[in-house]
């Protein structure tokens, strides 16, 4: 890969210290995500895929190893510096939607922009535009509890886009949705990739998105077992004959 990577993980380990037991969740992870790529992380539950996503998204820090963001080592940064990176460069979409329950849709989308020092008027305008583009124009004053799962997830996507980040991370975004709504959410993500050239990393079991994805990372027991470049239409088969690149 000649172009500079957006995120690069170098020999990353994540070990949890539980009382007397050591639990290794991630081991020897080497990974590169290039700008504009659409990466799918797949694996059985407990394989460490969510932890991997959290480390990519600076929500969690590795026990060992290094992370580079656009070539800059960010492994040793403070919590606040990581918060700044999350605010500026990364948008999250969660399985549980994770909207702030006391804020309405508009305010939820406006919220991340506070940390970028955007003025209220501009925040409001931008949030409205985002919500309208996701077909939520009529829902801007509703609280999350008054919305369907699909609507909540689209608001979460709008929020993830609020600060115009380069990287969108989605952790099983369709896990709590029925298949039709799930498909709609996936299409939204695919559209973001196609039309706005966002870099997207999705943790999913969804074969539909895997079908679209250009790169599938299979993870098992904390190790990447395959990094599968799907240049053409390939359905994820779970086979382990894919080439290892690191």
């Amino acid at each position: 890969m000649a172009e500079e990577s957006l995120i690069k993980l170098e020999n990353v380990w994540k070990i949890y210290q539980l009382e007397k037991l050591e639990l290794t969740v991630l081991r020897e992870i080497n990974l590169e995500i290039t700008p504009g790529s659409f990466v799918t992380i797949m694996g059985p539950s407990g394989s460490g895929k969510s932890t991997l996503l959290h480390i990519i998204g600076c929500l969690d820090t590795p026990t060992k190893g290094k992370i580079f963001l656009k070539g800059k080592d960010i492994s040793g940064l403070s919590e606040d510096e990581l918060a700044q990176i999350r605010s500026q460069k990364i948008g999250f979409v969660f399985q549980q939607f994770n909207l702030l329950p006391n804020l309405n849709s508009l305010e939820n989308v406006m919220f991340p922009m506070i940390f970028q020092g955007v003025y209220e008027e501009e925040r409001r305008e931008k949030a409205q535009t985002l919500l309208k583009s996701l077909d939520l124009g009529k829902r801007i004053l509703h609280r999350p509890s008054e919305l369907s799962g699909g609507e909540q997830q689209r608001i979460a996507i709008a929020r993830a886009l609020a600060n115009n980040p380069e990287l969108i991370l989605a952790d099983e975004p369709t896990g709590n949705l029925d298949s039709t709504t799930g498909k709609m959410i996936m299409e939204t993500l695919i559209n973001l990739h196609k039309k706005e050239q966002k870099t997207i990393v999705v943790v999913t079991h969804d074969p539909y998105i895997a079908e679209y994805s250009k790169e599938i990372i299979n993870i098992k027991d904390g190790r990447i077992i395959s990094n599968h470049q799907t240049a053409s239409k390939v359905l994820w088969s779970g086979k382990e004959h894919d080439k290892r690149i690191f």
Partner: protein, 403 residues
Amino acid sequence: MIKEYFKISLRNLRTRPMRSWLTIIGIVIGIFLIISLLSLSEGIKSAMLQQLRMMGKDLVMIMPGELSDILTTFIGGLKLTEDDLKAIEKAEGVNLVVPMSWKGEVMRYKGKTKTILIYGVPLKESKEIFKTDIGWDLAEGRWPIVGKREIIVGDLVPKDIFPGMKIETQAYIKGKQFEVVGILKSLGSKQDDSMVALDLDIFREITGERKDAQFAFAKVGPGFETEEVVENIKDQLQETRKRKRGEDLPSFTVLSNEKMGGIVNDIMSLIQVAIFSIASIAIVVGGIGIMNTMYTSVHERTREIGIMKAVGAKNKTIVNIFLIESGIVGLIGGIGGVGLGIGLAKMIEFSLSSQGTFYLKASASPQILIFGLGFSFLLGCLSGFFPARRAAKFKPVDALRYE
């Protein structure tokens, strides 16, 4: 950004109105207690000091009995004898002695009868001292002529006690007829403004009191230090009592005006400290209430904290949001407490003044208001500090995973 945090904090408080209000009431009670008591004691202090301030600096006060049981002195009827008064007069540096006596007597005016405090003052010798050093000033009329049955009355007498009393009219004390010749301007204390003053000789004549006094002023002569004269008077009094009565430890209180002010100030400050420490207990309880609520809130909102962090909130932001929340609780509690506290103090002032027993002005100075509000806001922030810090310490992933 602070504005946004304020909005979020308010929103959070409003989602749990019951709990917020209960916590606020906890603060209201503490602040209410402290403000009402402080306001009253501050009022008493300023009334007392005000009175002392009206008097000249070169006056020495002499009272029988120890200062520590001053109340016993007044109620128990300890007196300065004629010998004592003479001894004071002999002390070096004393220019003039002004004995004062008082007694409650029945007074009749235009068919109305009331019990009133009658002051006997030696008008002949000391009219000037009363005018210049003690601050007696006529609003209308003139001073009584020595030897004649004439009285002057305090400012409140024609207002409250005998409404419509005028000069050059007749009043009766113990059945004897007196002419009202003058009305004084306010002396700053309800007690003093409600009295009737007449010449000491006539006072003794009608009340049957002997030639002693409950209280005396001594005016310091030119060229003498007040504190020095205080010591001279003490020495003279002790010597006289030893000689005449064989008392070993005669008890007197001899004080300069300045010292008196200092003592009043000290006593009142001590009382205020005591009040403050007792009321602090209520405030600490209120603070613990805030802390408890905030810990519960942090616990319940762990996931929200995780979400906020995930979308870019720094630790400081989380601390600020929670601190503002607890600060608002404190401030609202403070507003309620200050309002109720001043209200109660004013009510006590009003009920006391309508009874006419004791003169008191509840102080509602800006200092007390600012203190009350500032203190409660600070209390809120302080109590919210540890919960807020705990909230900020959550790792984003852990907080997000929290159910």
